[in-house]
Symmetry: C2
Subunit: 694 residues, 2 copies
């Protein structure tokens, strides 16, 4: 959970009442100048102390030769001296009793100087100095007018807090927020995170009163599970959007098992974030639009959208994007249509959803929206403006105050009128976007966040209380035999076709008679990890006599393919009934630890990688959601007249795998492939489990 | 092909030397004022004649009571009178010898007054007046400074020509082009297209010297095949991007056959556009970005991208998006790396691709790009700026002149410096984007367009010479029996398992002996359109004796399920070898006529709708491309050690279906499901064909 010390430290950093800039320079080309200049231009109201042994005054401020020489208390040291001097400066800060620092200087771990970074961190620990960085653009905390960042100087306040691993993303997102009228609450650049980390910032800004929404740009996380806990706690109190780069690297990692090969880290990251209630963005523009929607659209009560437009085109584009965002555009209630007709709108109007008012004045928008609200036609209303609409700002703000439904604005093709209005609306806290598709990304985010809160309410996923074990997972691994694997999943409540191990052909015949034919014969040998590849499986064995000869055939194939291989025997299994096949698997993600995978069985599903992931342990809702998430889900829900699959039983299998992966920390990989799903029940037909150890 | 008369008419409209505005008004709230005002503000240099019987002068221009009263020649009548007066005005224009008109007035077909629109069209034909509209925002042709559009007034010239079915899209795209520095060549709003249509505009602007790129926003097309011909001809001489709304309506149409059900019109539209070399955009922002890339990025020689950045983050985001756009980021050639090292870059640099220069001055960007060019490291270089970079404009323009590789700029997080620079670069004809992902959409478009030209060069898809027949396709339809269907596809060169029709059980036994067992038995009856649903197929029939009893079983099932059904017999087919199954189908798209579908066989592929479409007739390249287009293609190309499928044979089946759909205009639906594809050869195992007529 949150580390109170880190939160207190960050509070002292962001709310510092006095700041020293070590490495301040009078040369406008230097970062030491730019940063001091930003602090001054940002309007910081406390004392600012440039530290530079060679200067007497910089930017009209008295300079000091060292931190110690400053005669007044300093809350925050902003450091921009060359890397090799930074540890000494931190040491001095500790000695001077300065509690916090922002180390802008680069040239540490990222430049091959991990030693210098370790020295810096050690000096900070000794001196009890908590710090941001090193290798950062800086911080900007607008409630304190503290812009300790060499670029850009942002002073327009708003709800957006930006936490990023890229200075350019910090600057870009902040500037977009200013240009669009949204405004910024805080911006912080993560840098090397030698002390304070992603999770600390998330904890801090979750509690920060003036933060309305948190936008994260990440290239990775320091500790997967801690990040999820912080994200879960943050998302419970305010919206969080995340963009992670590295999508294109996904799927490159080689892995032994089927499940492992599909566990591209990026997909797991996105799934984990959604699992704790974060909104996941696909690119920077979408990160910004989704953050704006989350900051400035009242939490929608559902996913029903009404687009009100003067432009059929804009309405159509909104509808297209709405589908992609999982929103519905329900038909207009008949009473609403009737009341609209009574309004004597333009003859060019089209009374459907999207609603096209034809060419009208702003008042018609207002009436159409208010009537929609009265008839409960939608949970979210999009004012989809596609021409200059004088008076749009006042009308939209008035609607924002009076509507029960949530409201957002798209404004396009309205010239300077449009630019002014968009800015004014965002400034006033009503989300306005420059195109229908961008509006829909913001609306989609708002709908999903509200939906998550409704569904998950007070419920806190168990993963928040789960601590990853640290077993000695390096070194040797072992593939369980099939009977061992079947027994293990049996311990976790999963069924398996009735089976016994035959050590001789005679035993195979006897067991098959006992179980009742048809049976399936499967070779059991540590040398046959992938049984089918050596023809080690024989299905539809119809008589004990066939079982006897089948035993000889399979053991013969093993001898052919793997001469001298150890033979444990042949597993005789009662043949299960036909049914739809799915895969349920578990693997260890390098960042988040145990994860569970679900997908349809068969080579096509594998080739199309139509699979869903969740971080274990899964709650019931997680299991249900991941089953519904795959594109092939319709096959499970009564495809072309087939009986629907028993989704509850299937969710039970998924959750059993989750428990297994969580409770048994020696499991490296697990594949139940296939699991047959019936109208009643679900049954694993094969189990492949790799454990750590010999 | 292009209609010369329409092109000449449009030339006279866009290049009109004198304009009358019928319905000009002195009331600033009226469109009749706004349009006249736009013409004046647009800087039109010829005479402008307001026509309004109640006014003597409007906006300082002498007003006339009617078109006939104008004492000088008029080239173009811009009409904004109420709909009921429009036919009379057009009649008058014809009498006055005015060759062209733009009818802004709405209230025709779109408002239920098709009669009035027909009257208008007839009057125009009689008077030999060609016209734009009705129901349009207007036209803007900047080379003639003719802004006959009630909104917006755009005067910043550039390469972009916008043709849209939405006034808001026209205005929005034009304004974006102006704000970003790209500039506009022409904008035209399609409206109801009662005379001049989408294809006419496409033909005209393809030939228009000052158009650099055409951006289309469509909600449909007037004539599918003519549109494709115009698009093909246009794309051969200049880039064209298209956005079509209605994606979310796709797949809603019910259809009898499997292929029909998957032929969502939107997917067919996108496939058809790509087939003729158009770039397809997914939303308005992407339409704009792709158009910008096509206008202002030199045609790339290949798809190898190098991103040069000072920001690891921006590089990573560019790489993510590059993959989505089908670009590769190859590793840096070793000699290039060495030469970069010799440049003594920042110690923070990361010499891979994306290339991160650390924090450097603009000169380093230039050197890195020039060295990349010398070592032929990439086909496209993205200057991926993520901080204020003074001098970036001059440096980028110089690179644009000297590089062999194509060049584009992403500029983000650079404050006012960035905004100015992006504008200046676009103004100077070098594509500059506000984020890496948006840059990649432009680059992706440029790469695909250049690739299409290279691959298709002078080759003109046969579909340009194909004229859709107009058979009496309404009314009754007929399902061919399987032997008939097999014979028909045989006429087009396709194989089928050897088969004979058995009319008795004895014949079934005899035929199976003759063909050689195992055989497959299939019921043949007009009452069993879907054989498997009534258990009408029996595979693996091992002996003539089994065939004899199988005949009785199948005919029994038919009697059970369809009492009294006519029985043609039982088809005895030699059983084909196992193999991967695919579907090849044909259907009639309501817009484009015969189209061909390809996908993997099986219920999963169907549920995931992983299929590709092409408009028939297909060339070899089309067939090859559509096979490679499906997500499941890896299954055909040697999945997990299997032998690769015979793609040439498969392409042959696809093209045979294309010929069949093209040459036989009575075929409504055709499904070859499955087609087995082997390492050598491909064989349809079932054929279902529905024809028009009894």
């Amino acid at each position: 959970m949150a580390e109170p010390e880190a939160i207190i430290a960050l509070d002292r950093i962001f709310k510092a009442r006095s700041v020293a800039v070590v490495g301040a320079s009078a040369d406008p080309a230097k970062l030491g100048f730019m940063t001091l200049d930003s602090i001054v231009k940002g309007g910081f109201e406390g004392p600012v102390f440039p530290v530079n042994p060679k200067a007497r005054e910089i930017l009209g401020l008295k300079a000091y030769p060292s931190l110690k020489a400053i005669p007044k208390p300093v809350d925050l040291a902003v450091i921009i001296v060359p890397a090799r001097f930074v540890p000494a400066v931190i040491r001095e800060a500790g000695q001077a009793g300065i509690p916090g620092a922002v180390v802008l200087t680069a040239g540490f771990r990222e430049a091959g100087r991990a030693d210098l970074e370790d020295e810096l961190a050690a000096a900070a620990r000794t001196g009890r100095v908590r710090f941001v960085g090193p290798n950062v653009q800086g911080i900007n905390y607008l409630p304190n007018k503290l812009c300790a960042m060499f670029f850009p100087v942002i002073t327009a306040r708003g709800p957006l807090t930006v936490i990023t691993q890229s200075g350019s993303a910090t600057a870009g997102l902040s500037e977009w927020a200013v240009r669009e009228g949204l405004g910024v609450n805080a911006a912080v650049n993560l840098g090397n995170q030698a002390d304070l980390t992603d999770s600390d910032y998330l904890d801090y800004f979750a509690a920060d009163q003036t933060t309305g929404v948190i936008a994260l740009y990440l290239e990775g996380v320091c500790q997967g599970r801690r990040f999820l806990k912080s994200a879960l706690a943050a998302a419970a109190v305010k919206p969080v959007v995340v963009l992670k780069s590295g999508r294109s690297a996904a799927g490159r990692q080689a892995a032994a098992s089927h499940t492992g090969a599909l566990a591209g880290r990026h997909q797991v990251f996105a799934a984990a974030c959604r699992q704790v209630g974060l909104e996941v963005a696909e690119d920077l523009t979408s990160l910004f639009d989704r953050a704006k929607g989350l900051a400035a659209i009242k939490p929608p009560k559902g996913n029903r959208l009404l687009s009100i437009s003067t432009s059929g085109g804009m309405g159509g584009l909104a509808a297209d994007e709405a589908e992609a965002e999982g929103l519905s555009l329900p038909p207009l209630p008949e009473e609403y249509r009737q009341s609209l007709k009574a309004e004597s709108l333009s003859p060019l109007s089209n009374l459907s959803n999207p609603l096209d008012l034809g060419y009208v004045k702003v008042e018609a928008f207002g009436r159409a929206a208010l009537l929609a609200d009265r008839h409960e036609a939608a949970d979210v209303i999009l004012l989809n403006l596609g021409d200059p609409v004088p008076g749009a700002v006042e009308a939209a703000l008035e609607l924002g105050r009076s509507l029960k439904a949530s409201l957002a604005v798209s404004y396009l093709g309205g010239g300077e009128e449009e630019e002014r209005a968009r800015f004014a609306l965002n400034r006033a806290g009503l989300a306005a976007f420059p195109s229908p598709e961008r509006a829909l990304r913001g609306i989609g985010a708002a709908v999903r966040a509200a939906d998550f809160k409704r569904r998950r309410g007070g419920e806190r996923p168990a993963l928040a209380d789960w601590t990853p074990p640290t077993p000695g997972r390096g070194g040797s691994t072992r593939l369980l035999t099939e009977p061992e694997a079947a027994a293990l999943i049996g311990d976790f409540g999963l069924g398996y076709p009735e089976h016994r191990l035959a050590r001789t052909a005679g035993e195979a015949a006897a067991i098959s008679a006992e179980l009742g034919c048809p049976v399936v014969l499967k070779i059991v040998s540590p040398a046959a990890a992938h049984k089918t590849e050596i023809g080690g499986v024989m299905a539809g064995v119809a008589t004990p006599e066939e079982a006897r000869s089948g035993f000889e055939t399979l053991t013969g194939r093993l001898r052919n393919h793997r001469p001298g291989a150890e033979l444990a025997g042949v597993l005789v299994c009662r043949q299960a009934e036909e049914g739809l096949e799915v895969i349920v698997g578990g693997t260890l993600d390098p960042v988040f630890g145990p994860v569970v995978m679900f997908g349809l069985g068969g080579v096509q599903a594998e080739a199309l990688a139509d699979v869903a992931f969740r971080v274990a342990p899964l709650e019931r809702t997680d299991a249900e959601e991941m089953i519904r998430e795959i594109k092939g889900f319709p096959l499970l829900s009564g495809w072309r007249g087939r009986p629907p699959a028993d989704l509850e039983a299937l969710a039970g299998v998924v959750r059993a795998v989750s428990r297994l992966m969580t409770e048994r920390d020696d499991i490296l990989e697990l594949d139940l492939n296939p699991v047959r799903v019936y109208a009643h029940g679900a049954l694993p037909l094969d189990a492949r489990i790799v454990t750590a150890g010999k």
